[in-house]
Symmetry: C2
Subunit: 211 residues, 2 copies
């Protein structure tokens, strides 16, 4: 429909802006509260000394998430969608004006907490990363397939809660690989730090390829 076509055009504009600056851009998606901001807080703590990182935050309301990132010394811009259930390429294009893209190594976009709509809107990103947290349940890949199909990396978060929830990592991996054989999967706890080196390795690997 017209909406997606218009978004597609703006996404391509964003993509060429990023390409001109040699900038790697990640769109991070999940259901609400899966741990996107917690993952980014730790990521900024660990990588901001080595890399020039900026973050765009997307939420219906509040600037809570951008403030949490800014507290780590990283430039973060908050987009409030009002009632919109996803970020789109136009909103991101507006936010880009706040950054010097040439000076950045990595731009991370945290999308609105929603396991459905964000997967359908290209923002011009280089890669799409999604989180699934262990308390949400292990059948999500077959119930919410679009997000899993469109993501290059699936991060299973809150592994520290595994003993207290019904979550079978092998089952999630099986379901996700069935609908997206190329998806990479890592397990972490953004709270305790377990497994985060897998995420940092994935990120730096992508950055090296780019340069």
């Amino acid at each position: 429909k017209g909406l997606l076509a218009a978004n597609e055009r703006l996404a391509q504009e964003n993509r060429s802006l990023f390409a001109r600056s040699g900038l790697f851009v990640v769109n991070i998606m999940s259901g609400p509260g899966a741990g996107k901001t917690t993952l980014l807080e730790r990521t900024c703590e660990t990588l901001a000394a080595r890399l020039n990182i900026a973050v765009i935050e997307g939420d219906l309301q509040t600037s809570e998430d951008a403030e949490r990132i800014a507290a780590k010394g990283v430039h973060a811009v908050q987009i409030n969608t009002g009632g919109g259930c996803h970020l789109d390429a136009k909103m991101v294009q507006g936010a880009l004006k706040s950054f010097d893209l040439d000076a950045l190594d990595l731009l991370i976009i945290e999308n609105v907490g929603n396991l459905v709509c964000p997967a359908a809107f290209d923002l011009g990103e280089s890669a799409r990363v999604m989180l699934l947290s262990t308390p949400e349940g292990d059948e999500k890949p077959i119930k919410y397939p679009l997000m899993f199909t469109r993501s290059q990396l699936l991060i299973i978060n809150k592994m520290d809660l595994l003993d207290y929830v019904d979550f079978d990592v092998k089952r999630v991996e099986g379901y996700a690989k069935k609908i997206n054989p190329g998806i990479e999967i890592i397990t972490v706890s953004a709270k305790t730090g377990e497994g985060m080196e897998g995420w940092y390795g994935w990120l730096t690997g992508k950055l090296e390829k780019k340069s």
Copy 2:
């Protein structure tokens, strides 16, 4: 916009169908994996002997949830939205054909797991109930206000995990009451059964008022 107006009309048609049969209808919403189906499994186990209950399940894909309800001996119809991020009045109207509304005491509609879009679409229900689970975080009422504003009852689920997550019940209650002073709030664990009598009391109270 036209979409909501068309939905409004069909919702009113549903509402008069329900009124004619004296049927109480609950629309249950939450983010993905907050525990809606688990809550309904327990509810059916406890109340189906006394009440004639039917369930409409809404998901993008699969009939997993309807099968879980049917396993409790309750008539459940599965709506698959394909990629749609919420149920609407038209989908529900189609599903009503599978039931004898005059014979029912209670119809429960489990909406698509999404903390944003379902709140905007009236289905013709008598009451809107939402779940928030403790692992999702306690600032959700201010970040996703529409769902909290539109619900009559907020069920805080997964209280059995409280010791392992960062979740302040008082903070959630404060945030929710600020944007919706009339909202009722109960805490449960759909897994262990803790607090479920508060939910049964709320439901049977509504049913008595109706008859």
